[in-house]
Symmetry: C2
Subunit: 321 residues, 2 copies
């Protein structure tokens, strides 16, 4: 990147930066990697925004990357996994500006997981759902992959974590998501798990479930603000994934300030309240449901559903689940 | 952060990093601020993931931040705005690891814009929409704010940018979004603008529009892959915002690999294909539409709609638009 600024202007504005005197931090966002500072230069106010830059990815820099690091400090190690802080700076007064993860020795699975993966957008009609996706879900459910969910529901694990629970056919429970540190409120992430095993995903929600879903929504909100009293209900966002990671219906409850990455993106996440409203306004009787609509979402090209179902459908081949 | 690793283990894994020999870059994501490298240590494979860390925000570091920067290089300057690259590193062989923006002198509006803003989740029922939001939209439309849109539609500006166009009552045009650099395909971002002025937002879409919306969707996809032949239609994601930034119906067309930030999040973005399917399955006649459903979304606490409509509604006060 070259500057198009006249040299005298460039020199003048460059000289402004070191004269910036901090008044206060206005904001920190982008997962902490951007700060907006209010300050003064010659007693006039100014805003200085600093953002961590992208890594240079030319061969020279990548090849010397691991040897250029300073002050590598291990934070933890478990089996083949280890994590660290490190610096690109030679100045030891500066805080570490890098987080590192090392997987060593690694397998082909790790290489695949950390490689760039293409994404594809698919439209799942009610027909594709019934013919291919539902049987695929069934197959995934019988391989013991849901044991961890059943362990929670049946009271064998994580009982000390349960924030709220109702038992029975319409029962459900609320507990912290594994990715949340359980203390940082602006990144709060809880999970609502239903007890019943006949609702695998949003596709199984029907008009006849509306009262139940609303009850569940209200209780999830109420119990969250009860346990975290500095939180208001309108600071919570409820959504579900489609496709979800596992086929037992669950609701994500997050702080509305939580940095929304790919996991909350359209094409992956559906707002729970919008689903309720969609069900309420759906044509048909009580049996009408989310299996009557088309859902458009994106998938990794390395995912089973893409490889086994949508890619063959796209190429006119035979689907073998 | 202190390590819980026994000192001998910590020392052993810390010594692994500088011995990492690069094989290749596996991936770069998080807006370029995370790299995943494949390499070897003693001829065994390993994956090294490096991520730019959050800024330290204690007073000491923030106060000395502007004076600790090295190699400040101006990239451009316009009026009170200037942007730069800079380094936290003393090592001049390292590429700059920071981007800076300076607004100087700044106004209170800048301070507000760059300050942390709370978000609130609201549920907009058909009644709230009709009574408050639609009149608010009307008010926004008459203040000349849409002149830039009308300039494009009426052929006065940006005509050289138009990728595809159909004229008339059902007309629309496709052009690059201002935020796209017009060359980086994985961050492609185009805009579909309708010609007609009676569709202000997704709220105005009705069952009677389904054929038209599908035609528009197909043409937007077709013309995008025609002009960018390395792209497949199933690599494109179409969505709309609610609330949108301006009240003239427009569709966002983005590469599915585009880093999904808050702008694509549930509570802000709605997938176009899901809206089409929702309309198709909506109860009622041809006149039934998206103004019959509740839409739940989030708003900044500093936004007009929050301050003038939802906050008074929440507090039981009087709404004055």
């Amino acid at each position: 990147m070259t500057s198009t600024t006249p040299p005298d202007v460039a020199a003048r504005v460059e000289a402004l930066i070191p004269r910036f005197r901090l008044t206060r931090l206005l904001n920190q966002d982008q997962a902490g990697r951007r700060i907006s500072l209010l300050g003064t230069i010659d007693s006039q106010p100014g805003v200085l925004v600093a953002e961590r830059a992208a890594f240079a990815t030319d061969d020279d820099h990548l090849s010397s990357f691991s040897t250029s690091l300073i002050g590598i400090k291990n934070l933890g190690a478990n089996d083949i996994y280890a994590w660290f802080l490190a610096s690109t700076a030679l100045d030891e007064d500066q805080p570490p500006d890098l987080k590192l993860n090392l997987i060593y020795p690694c397998t082909d699975k790790h290489v695949k997981k950390y490689s760039a993966q293409g994404l594809r957008v698919v439209t799942e009609t009610p027909e594709i759902y019934a013919k291919y996706i539902r049987p695929y879900m069934q197959q995934q459910r019988v391989q013991g992959r849901l044991n961890w969910v059943f362990n929670i529901i049946e009271g064998r694990t994580e009982q000390e974590d349960v924030i709220y629970r109702e038992h029975g056919e319409e029962g459900f429970l609320l507990l912290p998501d594994l990715n949340w540190d359980r203390k940082t409120i602006p990144s709060l992430h809880l999970l609502g798990l239903v007890e019943r095993r006949d609702i695998w995903s949003v596709r199984d929600l029907k008009r006849s479930h509306i009262t139940w879903i609303k009850h569940m929504r209200d209780k999830l909100l109420d119990s969250t603000v009860k346990i975290y009293p500095n939180l208001d209900k309108d600071q919570l966002k409820l959504y579900v994934h489609y496709q979800p990671t596992y086929y037992h219906f669950h609701i994500h409850i997050v702080h509305v300030a939580l940095e929304a990455g790919n996991t909350q993106a359209t094409g992956k996440a559906l707002g729970l309240d919008n689903i309720i409203s969609q069900l309420e306004n759906l044509q048909g009787d009580d049996n009408a449901g989310m299996d009557d609509v088309s859902l458009t979402y994106h998938l990794g090209e390395a995912s089973d559903i893409w490889e086994k179902i949508y890619l063959p459908l796209k190429e006119g081949g035979k689907v073998e689940i």
